[in-house]
């Protein structure tokens, strides 16, 4: 039967990791996440090779592909580009049709978008070139504390007395962290404090974009359970998080590729 199936790919070339997703019809059949490394185009070629092998198809079987992410320009594939905000919007819409607001906490930026019931952007905002609102902030603090990224969430949730940061600047927060360690603050309390600071920043962006529920958290930030909780607390609502939050934009891109294919071939189906 595989001969009649239609396949679509999404490639998300992020600053920290490159993600790929392959759909058969509207079903996700293969995905891959790899650290971006120093040469995006090499990593992109490798990851596409890997994900297509997982899906058990060759590149020419793809009926559509869309590339997104900060590094989309350097992708070694001839495919249309769509902004990652649109891809996150579509990805969240497919996973949670009730999504009206998307938060994407990535390696470089935090983006928030209000979306339509059809999964299109209604309005969006990005954190300016500022590390406090992005995953980078967590990475920096985790490095100082010598905590593995995947341990940040669970560890922070054991905190009883989160540290309060007096600054909203990641650079100053780094030296503040060092001072707090010197004063004897626990790693868990520092991480919980970082989550609070980030959540406050995100909540401000959400207010400006006129947030509506449901709110979905995607991107690498979504893998940090403690952060999701802190944002939920700041907004007094429950934040939805996909199973593989980092994959959302690649998934959304593949879905948009499918949509595009449908638009240009009216009589076709999956």
């Amino acid at each position: 039967m595989s001969g009649t199936h239609r396949y679509y790919a999404g490639l998300d070339m992020g600053s920290a990791s490159i993600k790929a997703a392959v759909l058969s019809g509207h079903r996700l059949i293969a995905s891959e996440i790899v650290a971006s490394g120093g040469k995006y185009s090499d990593t992109a070629r490798k990851i596409m090779g890997g994900v297509l092998a997982k899906a058990g198809i060759s590149e020419d079987r793809l009926d559509g592909m869309i590339i997104t992410g900060l590094g989309a320009e350097s992708a070694p594939f001839d495919a249309p580009q769509v902004s990652d905000i649109s891809c996150h919007a579509m990805g969240c819409h497919c996973l949670f049709p009730s999504t009206r607001t998307v938060i994407d906490i990535g390696g470089q930026f935090t983006k928030v978008a209000r979306i339509t019931p059809q999964g299109r952007i209604a309005d969006f905002l990005m954190s300016e070139k500022c590390a406090t609102g992005s995953g980078r902030f967590l990475q920096v603090i985790a490095r100082i504390l010598q905590v593995k990224l995947e341990d940040i969430g669970p560890l922070s949730m054991t905190s009883k007395h989160p540290v309060e940061f007096s600054t909203n600047c990641a650079v100053f927060a780094e030296s503040e962290t060092v001072s707090r360690i010197a004063e004897g603050a626990k790693a868990a309390d520092i991480l919980a404090g970082v989550h609070h600071a980030m959540a406050a920043k995100v909540a401000m962006l959400l207010k400006r974009v006129k947030m509506e529920p449901d709110v979905v958290l995607t991107g690498g930030g979504g893998e940090d359970e403690g952060l999701a909780l802190a944002i939920g607390d700041a907004l007094s609502l429950k934040i939805l998080v996909p199973d593989k939050p980092r994959l959302t934009a690649a998934f959304g891109a593949a879905y948009l590729a499918r949509e595009q294919h449908f638009r240009s071939h009216e009589n076709h189906s999956d």
Partner: protein, 380 residues
């Protein structure tokens, strides 16, 4: 002979070259900041007005030894060029008190890079008839100091001639902007930026001759099919480099209209030809739409927004804009604080707004790509 487009490109790239040539022939070159300094006055003295620009493609590598890096990067970049000797061809330096940065920049510039003639023009912040007469006397004082420095009296008839000359240029620029109303526009936002910047360092009559030829060239170009791309109105401060507008257009949009210091703000309104030319000049120049100025408050919020931004609403309607981009050079308090009200006004007209803050550097343009793309996808 070069085509007009080639000449525009040359003037755009080789900034200051023509002014240097003219100076060798004995002309005095008067450099100035912002849209508040009347070109007419300088021209009536038979001197060449030169709008000071920075450079978005050069790092600010000297100015930070004198001023803090958290000041307006446009002002810092301009001063940086001055420190590197690139404005040594200026015989005069004039700064209006447009914003606090430019006002302080006057003193710093004067102290570190004094010209032969230096003058600060006080510009009132609140608009109204009292302010206009105040500004008129400030301009009379500016004239007096040019007279003292040059040893020549200003001939009022020459000032009237200059008013007519610049109104002619304004009319041509408005005519050029008319060509942006079609789909697609007959002239792109990137091209417009080049033409405007090219004209900021040459005498008005040369810019006029160039514009006339340029427009002829544009009008005989083949007319492309309607492309239905989103049409963008752009608001902000100094865009004296094509980089950002080019990014917007490359991302699949047409930049069709603007309210920028380097765009309509400096040329749109004519100077009325009054019996005493200084009356018309003072009224026109004080009332340019710089967000640093305040108009008297109206009784309701709606009326107030209409009173402040009605002209923008008209631009957006007449040029058929689908969305607005606020492009703000970082640390421009006036623009950043004006942004929210203008956003509210435009949103009430169903015009979505994207606000970007940038470093006045072409190296940051790539980072803005995602934002612009997402905004265009939202409009499309």
């Amino acid at each position: 002979m070069m085509t007009a487009s080639e000449q525009v490109e040359k003037l755009y790239v080789e900034r200051g070259k023509r002014a240097r040539e003219l100076r060798k022939k004995g002309k005095k070159i008067i450099g100035y900041f912002c849209c508040f300094v009347p070109d007419e006055i300088i021209t009536a003295f038979d001197m060449v007005p030169y709008r000071i620009q920075g450079s978005q493609s050069e790092p600010i590598d000297q100015a930070d030894a004198y001023i803090e890096p958290m000041a307006c990067p446009f002002a810092r970049s301009s001063f940086n060029l001055a420190l590197k000797g690139r404005y040594d061809f200026l015989d005069g330096f004039v700064a209006p008190h447009s914003c606090d940065t430019i006002e302080r920049m006057y003193h710093i510039w004067l102290h570190n890079k004094p010209s032969s003639f230096n003058h600060l023009i006080n510009v009132p912040h609140m608009l109204g008839s009292g302010s206009t007469s105040f500004y008129r006397s400030e301009l009379a004082y500016f004239i007096k100091s040019l007279e003292d420095w040059s040893g020549r009296k200003l001939d009022p008839d020459r000032l009237k001639d200059a008013v007519r000359l610049y109104n002619r240029r304004r009319a041509l620029l408005r005519e050029l902007y008319e060509l942006r109303k079609t789909d697609p526009p007959q002239v792109s936002g990137t091209e417009i930026t080049r033409v405007l910047v090219a004209g900021m360092g040459i005498p008005a009559e040369e810019h006029i001759a160039l514009l006339e030829r340029y427009m002829k060239e544009i009008k005989v170009r083949p007319v492309p099919k309607a492309d239905k791309l989103p049409r963008i109105f752009i608001w902000g401060n100094e865009i004296d480099d094509i980089a950002f507008i080019n990014l917007v257009e490359e991302s699949g949009a047409q930049v069709v209209m603007d309210d920028l210091c380097t765009g309509t703000r400096f040329f749109w309104d004519d100077v009325p030809e009054t019996k005493d030319p200084l009356d018309g000049i003072a009224a026109r120049y004080l009332n340019i739409h710089c967000p640093r100025s305040n108009v008297p408050q109206m009784e309701t919020r709606e009326k107030d927004l209409g009173n402040r931004y009605g002209y923008i609403g008209q631009f957006v309607k007449d040029w058929g804009a689908d969305g607005a981009i606020f492009y703000i050079v970082r640390y421009c308090d006036t623009c950043e604080l004006e942004g929210p009200d203008l956003r509210e006004y435009l949103n009430s007209m169903n015009i979505p707004v994207l606000m970007v803050e940038d470093d006045y550097s072409t190296s940051t343009i790539g980072q803005l790509r995602t934002r612009v793309q997402a905004f265009l996808e939202m409009l499309g």
